[in-house]
Amino acid sequence: MPIRVSLDKILMERRMSLTELADRVGVTIANLSILKTGKARAVRFSTLSALCRELDCQPGDLLVYQPGPAEEGEEEG
């Protein structure tokens, strides 16, 4: 997946833990971990807006496009 989630960096800048963010956004830590480790296939607008609200950032700060070779099991189209 060429979309990278820079949640780690923003959390560090905000000095916020993943557990605290999960509580504020209303998403489980397990799901937030999937997002943080780049395993997520899609993000709901509602989740994205809640993340932006709590981290006081823009979607572009969270998501970065980095083209590269397709990962194993990834389908085109």
Binding site: N31, L32, I34, K39, A40, R41, A42, V43, R44, E75
Partner: protein
Amino acid sequence: MRALGPGSVSSFLKLVLDVAYAAMLAGVAAALLMLLAAILFAFNPGLLANVHLPEAERFTDQAPLVVGGLVVVGAYMTGVLIILGALRRIFSTLTAGDPFRPQNVSRLRAIGLALAALELERYAVWGVSAWLPAVDDIRPGFSLTGWFSVLVVFVLAEVFREGARLRREAELTI
């Protein structure tokens, strides 16, 4: 009517599948035992003298035919058993609330292949019986219903494959 749980259609279907599976398992075991006995008597005709069986003499003449018939019946029942076993496993995933698993795709494909094998077995039986003068009650016939069932099952397998992919994607949607 409820979809799952006691009194639902699925609980009735589960009961039917369980009963059919148990009956077919017993049938396959009985066919296997009869086959073993037939092979034993076919190779040791002297044993028949010690056993009081009606039409024992006829068996001595037609031993290869009886053994062949039992092999055909055993193979047919095994095919049905494979289908029922796969259906039961698919059904267990449904009652667990998660039928769109990748394993169910291969189970459905196995059912399709087993159905196709059963159809081919029928043709093989007709072909062989045409050469046997002792068998005259098996009439050849081509029915599209069997192949239509194979087609339906393979289409369903593809539907399940897409369902499994969508489920995986939904799981990884945050």
